[in-house]
Every structure is written in C-alpha cells, then in structure tokens.
Symmetry: C2
Subunit: 345 residues, 2 copies
C-alpha cells in the first residue's frame, strides 16, 4: 500500500536508473525533490539543477502556440527550482527543430523563452540546436539555494497544514478547453515562477512540491514519500480558480476534475507545521499574499476529500496511472476519470 | 572574410538568441568556448555547463546501436567539459522514448550511459522522461574548472603550434562505413573523454576546442574566432588513425575526407605557444602521451594544407555549410565534398 512503485512512471524511472550510481555530492535521493541538489566543496549554498521538456502536451495539441511553448519550457524548469527554495542562475536550451520550421514559429518561440526569463530576472546561458523530422524542446535550469538548506518533498508530518501558493485548476481547465471544446473558451494559461513566495515558504515549510502534474499527483507524491495521508478541507470550489469553475459550469463537469487532471498549474504545494502556521501567515500577509489552505496531514496514507458531507478516499494511484491514457485517447481518459470520481463519492 | 556568420549554423544560432540578454555571471561569449562558464560568488573555481543531444546521426542511421547512442550522448557532453579544462560533477538526461520502445533498447541505452559515466568517474544526477512518437535524447553536463582559469577557443596567436590529443578521422570513417557501405567494415567507434589530457593541456594551451564536428570544422572555428590562419604540416596520413586510412584504401577515397567530414572523433584540438612547447611535450611524455602535431598558426585567416608538395587554401566555410546536405542527401554530400577537395588541389 502506498508504495512509490505503484505509480507506473516511477516504476519506469526506477528501472531506467537501476544501473546508475549516485554521486557522493548529491544531497537528495531520487523522487524526493523537484530539483537535484548538489553540495560543492567550500560553498555556503547548494547548487540546484533540474531538466524538463515538453512532448506530450505538444503532440496532443494542448500547447500549439509557440510563444506558450517557449514560455512553458522555461517556466517548468524554473518552477522546479522554486520548489526546492533555489533562485535561478540561468538555463540551457535543447532545441530540435523540424527542417521545415518557419521563422514566425521560431520568433514567437524565442520570445516566449525570453519573456519567461525576464519574468524571473534570469538568463539563457547556452544551448544546443539540432534539426530532425520532429520538433523537440527541453531545457535545464541551474540555481542556488539560500544557505545550505533546501526544500524537499520529504518532511510532512501528521498535523501539518497543507497550502498552495494560489488557487488551482487552470492547467486542467486550459487542457479541457483545448482538447474537448477545441479551444473555444479562451482560457489564459501562462503560469508565473513563484520565487518570491518560495523564499517565504523556505523559512517555514516542512515539505514542498510544485503542481506540475496537477494537485492530486503532487499530493499523492507527498503521501507516498512521507507515509502520511492528507485530508482536504471543505468544498473544492474554495480552492479552484474562477476560470476552472467557469469551465465546469459551462460543460457540467465536476470541479474535482480540475484537481485530478494531469496538466499542472505550477503552483507550490507545501506543508507547514501547525506551530509555525501563524508566523507563516503573518509573513505572507506582509507581502499581500494570501496562501490557499488546502487541508491537513493525517495518519492514514491516503487522500481524503469531503464532498456533500461525505469524506471519501481517492484512488490517486489509479488517477496518476491513467495519465498515459490521456495522450493516446483523451476522451476515454475523461470517461475513466469521471468513473473514478463517481466511485469515490 | 572569415566572419563567424559565414557559417549557416552560427548565423541561425545568432538569430535564435538575438532577443536574449547575457547573464552578468557568464564569463564566456557565445561561440567562444565548448561549455558555458559561470562565475559564482565566493567560489575559487568556475562552473562549466553544457548541453548536447543527438538527432541527425540517429535519423541517418549512423548511430543505430542503443549502447552507442547512450555512450555518445554522455561522451559529447563530457567532451565539452574537457575542452574548457573542467572536470565533471555529473549529468542530467532528457529522454523522450517512443511509446512502443522495447526493454532491450532501453537496457542497452542505459548501459551505454552508465559505462560512459564510469569511464569518467562521474554520475547521472537526474533527468526527465517523456513519451512521444519519436525518440529524442539529449543531456546536460556540469563541471568545475581547476581554479578560476578555463580553456577558451580564443587565444591562438600566429606561431602557436596546433596539436590534437590523438590521431583523427575515426568519426568520419565510422560514418562512411555506416552510410555508404552499410556498416560492412566494422569500425570500432567509442570515443573516450579526455579529462587526463585536458588537465595537462590547461596548463599550456592558448586555445582549445573539441573535434565534435570533425577536424576542419574545429580549425575553421578557431580561425574565425582568432582571426589567424592555420597551416597543417606535411601528409594527412600522419595525422589520421589506422581505421580511417584503411577505409580510404579500401574504397579509394582521399584521406582528406576523414578530416573534412562532420562526424567528430571528440579529440581535443589546441594551440600551444612556441615558448611553452618543450615544457608541454615533457609533461605529456611523463604520462606516456604522444600528442599529434597538426600545424602552425599563421597570419592569413585561412586553412592551408600541403598535398603533393602544393600548399592550398581549403574552403572550410563551404565544407561546414555542406553539412546540412549530409542529413538530406548523403551521396550528394560526398560528391560535393570530393568536388571541394579537387578544387583545393
């Protein structure tokens, strides 16, 4: 129960790395933090480094706008730095263009990259460019922590309060509108890096992860790693954003889907020990930030959600393992997800 | 004459980055070193970071063996660290697998990765895994220089002696055997990282670059960046390896092609000021290394080659710009290359 390798993706990655040796300079274990953490001799900070690319969302036509693709590849890497409490030094790009690529596509892509860097006061340090029959784009970000501490996914304890940097669901709302209603609802999706909030979170949080694969995937990962469960407080409508609510109303789908789907909003999800909560909230208030209270860590390692006065356990492993289906058959994916929803309540 | 942007690839990259701002922490300018060089506050070393992937060689079936692909993606990144005089901390992988990928392919690929890491006493630190309709694989390597110096492509002066870590041509010999004779000649191609030699080179060299795109591309880059030319000494057969010679004999092609083709051997190509040459050679001898003397830096910024007692200038821009043709029409590429050879002599 609640083993990491119940998740197909984790099992696959564990197989990939089974013959690799771990560096003695590496502080984190696999799966336990959003970036890799390296301790270098004589440095009073830790190096954080992470790599991430987009394939699936492009093939599924969720991301078609080259500006958005450029922005997202930078953002998803910066988000992994923010989730460990690091600030960026810069990024390297790895771009494989189609031989027939046009200059409009390239210009918009590079503008998205450049604007995403500016939004975090960071830089492209270098890269590699190739040509192929298929477009492929990934990046690597490097950063430094503030001192020798870093935010890890490990550390959540029973009684900790779970927070998100902002309301959730915009990624899944955007994906729904792109896949199922052909983008007719113009959802604005352009996640911002969370470095300012990450600095505050670093001072108080026991654990942190970004919501790059949607809320449930993040919570499931925290639950598996910490062997504690999470109970979400109250109504889902209190933690999802207006655009996500609007999509649910218009297409008569449960708001729950906006948290269960795998397209993330790149907020930070973190747990604060109860005895630090007041101090944390005061620090947030000083910068006019209202963190969104999600729930509480509980003993039994499952995700519990209140719906119409009933508390139900959600099969988050099944949900995460469904994601592969999204990219082959989105309609069946949605049907299966709604089935899990109906089983749960 | 001899401007960097005569080279199509460089012109394209300059366009890609035209809207990007340079980090104040970055020591190198674009195109001037094999890795990006970052100076961090309070560190007595420089961070070197580089990213590189394979697409073209896979699409052209030059690289088909998954073990070789795994090895090469690690090696080509490590080679860029060695070329700036850095030692590796580790690598991050970015792997996009086909949905139908088999476990034999994966196991061989990962073994190649792992063995290449072992050959340099380094580690995979992390990575990202995606699925798509097409295989794509790149990596990022991070390392540290020894002190605050790094090897740059800039610094070659007239009179400097040009060296290579070993004899050349194995990459083009391998590619020739794979493309034109269907791999019937079993050329062993598995370049090794040059960290031991790079340590010695760092102490003496005025400039350094790896031969990842073949010798002529490396020399052309040094010539353009330093606005000095290079005259190769004597016969080509003295600087190419036995396997390359054998391929030339068997298929009656000029040995010159083994230096002109774009598939590299990942040796280091470097210039030593004449007044340091004796000391350099003594240091090399101590570790039983015989560097291969290639030529001398001259005033006129062109590449000159001696052939049958005639000294000719080689149009290296034309050769480099031909490379795009290799990946669409290898036979025409070879014909064009032989035309350039015949024009030259």
């Amino acid at each position: 129960m609640y083993r990491l390798d119940e998740i197909e993706e984790i099992k696959f990655i564990n197989h990939l790395i089974s013959g690799f040796k771990k560096s003695p300079l590496q502080m984190n274990r696999i799966h336990t933090s959003d970036s890799e953490i390296i301790m270098l001799d004589g440095m009073d900070k830790l190096v954080a480094i992470t790599t991430d690319g987009i394939s699936e969302e492009i093939e599924l036509n969720i991301f078609t706008d080259p500006y958005l693709i450029g922005w997202m590849v930078v953002l998803m890497n910066l988000s992994d730095l923010a989730a460990v409490g690091a600030e960026p030094i810069g990024l390297l790009l790895n771009q494989t263009f189609e031989k027939t690529v046009g200059s409009d596509f390239i210009n918009a892509l590079q503008l998205g990259i450049s604007d995403a860097c500016k939004s975090a006061d960071t830089f492209i340090l270098g890269g590699d460019t190739n040509f192929s029959s298929h477009f492929n784009f990934c990046a690597t970000a490097i950063g430094l922590t503030n001192g020798k501490q870093y935010l890890s996914r490990i550390g959540m304890h029973e009684g900790d309060i779970l927070y998100s940097t902002s309301r959730l669901g915009i990624g899944n709302a955007f994906a729904f509108s792109r896949i199922f209603v052909n983008g007719r609802n113009e959802i604005k999706y352009l996640p911002k890096p969370q470095f300012d909030k990450s600095k505050i979170i670093s001072r108080f949080a026991a654990s942190c992860i970004d919501s790059s694969d949607g809320l449930f995937a993040s919570l499931d990962q925290l639950i598996r790693l910490n062997k504690s469960g999470i109970t979400l407080f109250g109504e889902i409508s209190l933690i999802i954003c207006e655009d996500a609510k609007e999509i649910c109303r218009m297409y008569d789908i449960p708001e729950w889907l906006m948290l269960a789907g795998p397209v993330g909003e790149y907020e930070l999800i973190f747990s604060i020990p109860q005895n630090r909560e007041n101090e944390f909230l005061k620090s947030a208030e000083k910068v006019n930030w209202q963190p969104v209270k999600l729930g509480i860590a509980v003993e039994k390692p499952e995700l519990f959600i209140q719906n119409k006065s009933k508390l139900s356990s959600v099969n988050t492993a099944k949900i995460r393992n469904l994601s592969a289906l999204l990219y082959s058959n989105p309609t069946q994916f949605l049907v299966e997800l709604i089935n899990i929803y109906e089983e749960s309540f």
